[in-house]
């Protein structure tokens, strides 16, 4: 294990923000609007962020019992060998599965929006290969690459939102909470599950050069993610209205298409696509690294590098076999994904934390 690789808190925040926002800003507005309609931005902004802070605190508390270890390594110490190793295995599966979904999202989006005649496996293969390249170079390279790209993402995002200000109609937000708070809560479940992807920290905490700052880091990341996702959702509702938003597959792409400045600055979706390709590479690499690291730790292999390509192959094939089509993917995200993700993002960590709190009440023996 390359435990000597260290990243700073800032790098970790950037990594988590990119990882979660890049797919979130594409899928979240439409899915949230399906439940919360015009109040989608409240769902994304308030409810989901509160949930994000909750899980962030759980992860921090849990992780700091073992700042040098990942969940795959410390789960057996908390709840015993058998159960712990089972949890480790489940997490490895979770990371691979989520990664396959992301790769599929990536391919589907590019086929739908950009190169309709190119077969899906091409995109999936390219992104998995790029991610494999990152993973075999390790955590530091992943963070450095993301640190380079992050300002570009923010600039592109701000640029698009800024150019849309003249098309914004705040009347679309009214009336506020027409049907009470229930739809808002229901709508927040999906963005909440997205926010919960900071579960990656359970694997990445040992890489932080100051693990004590994990709490601040995670909360900072959650707030930043909340800002970007809320802004996206609010903009698309304000520009298109709730009905159009919930019927579009990728509202952000339509937003970019909607931009028109003078007569020369048109069809800005290319910007979205560039950001998307780069961001998804980071995201896939992050989950890929978590999966490979977990596998290596689970099997007690010192160097994870030999596992990079086998795991990559599993992710690639899985991504193609998961869904029949794009609509099925969105349906999965809106329904099954929620309980599934909450189990891994909240359920298991809470359980582990509860046991740990009882067992290590008097402080953990080192």
């Amino acid at each position: 294990m390359k435990k000597d690789e260290k990243v700073s808190s800032t790098q970790m925040i950037f990594l988590l923000v990119t990882t979660i926002t890049v797919t979130g800003f594409l899928f979240v507005p439409s899915i949230t609007a399906q439940y919360a309609s015009r109040d989608g931005w409240i769902s994304v902004g308030l409810a989901a962020t509160l949930f994000g802070i909750l899980v962030a605190l759980v992860y921090t508390r849990l992780g700091l019992y073992f700042p040098e270890k990942s969940v795959v390594e410390y789960a057996p110490e908390i709840i015993g060998k058998f159960g712990g190793r089972l949890i480790g295995l489940l997490y490895i599966f979770f990371f691979i599965h989520i990664n396959a979904i992301i790769v599929r999202e990536f391919g589907d989006f590019l086929v739908t929006a950009f190169l309709p005649e190119t077969p899906l496996p091409v995109f999936n293969t390219v992104v998995v290969l790029l991610a494999a390249f990152v993973v075999s170079n390790g955590m530091e390279v992943l963070c450095r690459m993301n640190q380079f790209l992050f300002p570009l993402f923010v600039a592109a995002f701000v640029f698009i939102v800024f150019l849309l200000t003249e098309d914004v109609n705040f009347g679309n937000f009214l009336p506020l909470m027409e049907n009470g708070i229930k739809p808002v809560i229901r709508g927040s479940l999906v963005p909440g599950a997205w926010r919960g992807e900071i579960v990656l920290i359970l694997m990445f905490l040992p890489f932080m050069n100051q693990p004590r700052e994990a709490g601040k880091t995670l909360v900072g990341a959650v707030l930043l993610i909340g800002f970007f996702l809320t802004l996206t959702t609010a903009t698309s509702i304000a520009v298109f209205g709730p009905l159009l938003t919930q019927n579009m597959v990728f509202p952000i792409l339509e937003l970019a298409r909607y931009v028109s400045l003078g007569r020369f600055l048109e069809r800005l979706e290319a910007v979205v696509i560039i950001v998307w390709v780069a961001g998804v590479t980071v995201k896939v690499a992050a989950f890929y690294l978590a999966a490979v690291l977990g596998t290596a730790q689970w099997l007690n292999i010192k160097d994870y590098r030999p596992l990079v390509y086998p795991v990559g192959l599993i992710i690639l094939v899985y991504s193609m076999a998961l869904f029949e089509n794009s609509r099925e993917l969105v349906d999965f995200l809106a329904t099954v994904f929620v309980p599934y993700a909450y189990l891994f993002e909240l359920g298991i960590p809470m359980g582990l934390l509860a046991v740990a709190l009882v067992r290590y009440r008097g402080g953990r023996k080192q």
């Binding site: 700073s8 800032t10 790098q11 590019l110 950009f114 190169l115 190119t118 091409v122 995109f123 390219v126 992104v127 790029l130 390249f133 990152v134 170079n137 390279v141 963070c143 450095r144 690459m145 640190q147 380079f148 790209l149 007569r263 020369f264 069809r267 290319a270 696509i273 560039i274 390709v277 780069a278 590479t281």
Partner: protein, 537 residues
Amino acid sequence: MLKKWKNIIKKVFAKPRNESQAIGGGESKEPVAVSLESNIKHLKAVFDRCTDVIFREFEAAIGGGVKTAMIYIDGLVNKEMLTDDLVKALMYDVSGINSSAPVSDPAGYLSRSIIAFTEVKVHDNMMDVVHSLLSGETVLFVDGVSKAFTLSTQDWVQRAVTEPATENVVRGPREGFTENLQTNYTLIRRRIKSSRLKFETMKIGAVTKTAVSVGYIEGIVNNKIVDEVKSRLQRIDTDGILESGYIEEYIEDAPMTVFPTVQATERPDKVAGGLLEGQVAILVDTTPFVLLVPVTFPQLLQASEDYYLRWPFASFIRFIRFVTLNIALLAPPLYIAITTYHQEMLPTPLLISIAAAREGVPFPAFVEALLMETTFEVLREAGVRLPKAVGQAVSIVGALVIGDAAVSAGLVSPAMVIVVALTAISSFSLPSYFGAFSLRILRFPLMALAAALGLFGVMAGLLALLIHLCSLRSFGVPYIAPLAPTSWRDLKDMFFRMPWWSMFTRPRMTGHKEPARQDYMQKPRPPRRRPGGKSGQ
């Protein structure tokens, strides 16, 4: 396991180096003999069939006449100096004292009173004698003295200090390094008058015995980097070093990448600047190219002139340079991608004119671009290799072939010519020839990706490039350092060149040992009352 195999392979394939072949005899630590005859015989055997080694025997006018001999290599020594200061002094007894009286300590007497040279060394074994002879010193044997005197008479034909050929400036010093190590020391020392500037010299190359010198400023430099440089240099085991390029390939961090992780420069001011920021310079005798390590990719985009021009101009030039960097790398791939896959991204009138121009072209855009880029690379290479007189002809042929005939023959479209010309000019505008080289190479795979997958391919290629750049290190320093990992204060000298009075610190990666470059609050401002001014208005 792997290591074990490596060791076995090493044992089987590595031939033990025959040490005596390295320099041809004389390697034995044989002491200098008392008798002049045997010393000369020994040297004559060592320098058998070396016509440029001159043996001159004569009688010195000391102690009533002593047989002496001087040996030197023709062309490496200053003959006038030899005649005036050595031969005349010994033969004519210019000092005129006690010429007939016997001398008790001839060796000491000679070096103290007779030989009028600034640097006289006394050796007592033959190996040292051979070495100093080969490095241009003159050897003096005296009969009856079992010591050899070597006099520093080095003087050979050398190029004067001229303007460097690779990195030209409008404003800034016009001196460039030469092939002579001593001159190069001088050029740096004149800029940094500090005893903290150190040069440590070693000889590399079993046959060539090239002098390689590691220069750094003690107290600023990170000692770990100096030690690392020295240990990497000491690891080199080869027969000859003819240029710093040899050294570069032996010591670089990433030998398989297209990006240079060692910077080569001809400019003494650049080396001085690098030393002040904590870099280590590697000077190699017989080449004007000095190596600087560690180097980052952004540094390859900086010219020394950036620091001499006023900061708004320098910042503007930096901005232009980032634009040209992108054009040099991306213009042909983007042209291919857009004309092949994404025609909708162009404004309609432009699309129509490009389509009309491409109408008669028989090739797809990729082949067209490949054809033109290859032609251009060929022309450029021909321009470098050909004798200067023929160079003109090449440029005329090139201009005609690329510019006019190809278009009117319908082989390529005018738009492609514009793209290629723009690419060429852009790649010339990058300050580091060696950094621009990597872009030249990378353009071709990117073009292939663009032809295969359109903009997505270009994007994937760029990402792979970014990952690769992030994974590179140069002597422990991340290759895209001020950008990622981000160091805010170093960004002052990155996209912009902030005013000198605002750059308080040395770069974090190399100069962290003594981070303060200067005092704060040096922003110049006019005094409240104008000196010498009569009245306020």
